[in-house]
Amino acid sequence: MSVTVSLFQPQLALHIPDGFLSLPIILVTWILAIALIAICLQRVQATYQERAVPLMGVCAAFIFAAQMINFPIPGGTSGHLLGGTLAGVLLGPWAGSLVMAVVFIVQSVLFQDGGLTVLGANIVNMGLIGTFGGYYLYRSIRYALGRDSLRSVLIGAAIAAWTSVFVSSIVCAFQLAFSGTVPLNVAISAMAFWHFMIAIGEAVITVVAVSYIWRTRPDLMYHPPRHAVADTSRSYSSR
């Protein structure tokens, strides 16, 4: 258990506990989060139909497992993947946000990683801003640089991953400050400093993972490159 680490144990910083946010912030973020989940459920149901349950289930478990791996981040500590942009790049904005929301709900209820009342805020920060925002940033960069080249995909993924983590940490700092829990300057400097580094780690891992998938199974990506669509899908895993 990593309880003994520094006060700023970076990976906890985006999972706000109960009692840290005030009523107005909680109300607004819950409404946003519920709307997001409702729309996502509809879109996912329409896209995947009866494949939705098994596919979303295993993908949520995948993000959950991926978040558990610690890797060294620049600056000396270790961090873990948040996975918002990765989910957006691989599954698309709707399924990606849904998967992230499911992961946060399960983490909060079963593992107390983030409180129940602030679930809305956590979903907005990482699902809406992280996945949705990250996905559209990635897509516009990718399409601007050339849809079917690995380079543009990776540049898009890197910038989107970094920005999404950094921006959601800033939004989180604002939420804490508006709730009167932490003064704004302290919240922003503490959050921005650590998440500047964490976001670099997130970008590196996202880029490596996406390029691995691009080279082995490009047809699994949300916007597969045109040359991959023609190929029939091949299985690389035996299990």
């Binding site: 258990m1 309880v3 520094s6 006060l7 700023f8 906890l12 999972h15 506990p17 109960d18 009692g19 840290f20 009523l23 909680i26 409702a38 459920l41 009866e50 494949r51 349950v53 098994p54 596919l55 289930g57 295993v58 478990a61 995948f62 959950f64 991926a66 558990m68 791996i69 610690n70 890797f71 060294p72 993947l81 990765l86 709900i105 983490q107 209820v109 079963l110 107390q112 990683d113 409180g115 009342t117 009167g180 829990t181 932490v182 003064p183 302290v186 919240a187 590196v204 891992i205 996202t206 490596v208 993972a209 390029s211 691995y212 998938i213 082995t216 199974r217 699994l220 299985s235 690389y236």
Partner: protein
């Protein structure tokens, strides 16, 4: 390695026959939600309200006969976050200055915020953990379904819950394989290896999803899994829910 694991094992039904476990899972979930929301939404500085809530949560812990050690272990995890607020109190203006050292000062307002927020987080964590340690996951999922959560969402939860351990195991075995080939010694290399692992795990995951879907179809699956009949709420459920609401309202009424 992580806060998440370990907990999976605890999340089983451990308790025998107590008043709390005789309630339906739905009532238990509702009680927990009510208490947590009431605790967390009380404005800072209302100590007597939390005193009332703390007593009722203590009673809840007593009557549910939750094992205390696991309970406290799980609560300790999240309190790390309180550190951020602790730093915040050092720089906060307002109220009387209690202590000053250079430009760092501790004010009464800072102490109030720190105390309130810590207390709220602590009480909420206790309550949620009582629920999790006494209620099985399947019962919770049924309770969610009964509370009108979209069935698709509940089905995704249950399928995710089923595969968490599978994927975590797979990840651990990949990590072990990488370590035994000496790939994890250099931090720069390590990031590449982990990135590749995540990529390859996604491919395996996606294919597993397809296989699971095929298997479900082969067993006659047609969109949503069937929902079992759950025990109906009794008079005890109604009584305890009312009692919870009354206590919560009394707590709030102190400051009216």
């Amino acid at each position: 390695m992580l806060l998440h694991l370990g907990a999976v094992l605890l999340a089983t039904e451990s308790q025998t026959n107590t008043i709390w476990t005789r309630l339906t899972a739905r009532s238990r979930l509702l009680c927990t939600l009510l208490i947590v929301f009431a605790t967390a939404l009380t404005p800072n500085g209302r100590w007597w309200t939390w005193a009332v809530y703390a007593i009722s949560i203590a009673l809840l812990i007593l009557i549910s006969r939750v094992p205390l050690l696991p309970l406290l272990k799980r609560v300790a995890v999240e309190l790390v976050f309180v550190g951020v607020v602790l730093i915040g109190t050092l720089f906060r203006q307002g109220g009387d200055v209690l202590f000053q050292w250079g430009w760092i000062q501790i004010t009464t307002e800072g102490v109030t915020v720190l105390g309130s927020v810590t207390l709220k987080a602590f009480l909420s964590l206790l309550t949620v953990n009582v629920l999790i340690l006494t209620t099985s996951i399947t019962a919770l999922l049924h309770a969610l379904a009964e509370l009108r959560t979209p069935p698709l969402l509940v089905a995704i939860f249950s399928s995710m819950y089923r595969y968490i351990n599978v994927l975590v195991d797979e990840f651990n075995s990949m990590q072990r394989a990488a370590r035994s080939r000496n790939l994890m010694s250099d931090p720069r290399r390590q990031r590449t290896v982990i990135g590749n692992m995540i990529g390859s795990l996604f491919i395996r995951t996606y294919e597993r999803g397809d296989r699971v879907h095929q298997a479900m179809l082969a067993r006659g699956y047609s969109g949503l899994p069937p929902v079992a009949k759950m025990p109906q709420p009794s008079r005890l459920d109604v009584a305890l829910l009312t009692l919870t609401i009354v206590i919560l309202l009394i707590g709030q009424a102190i400051y009216l």
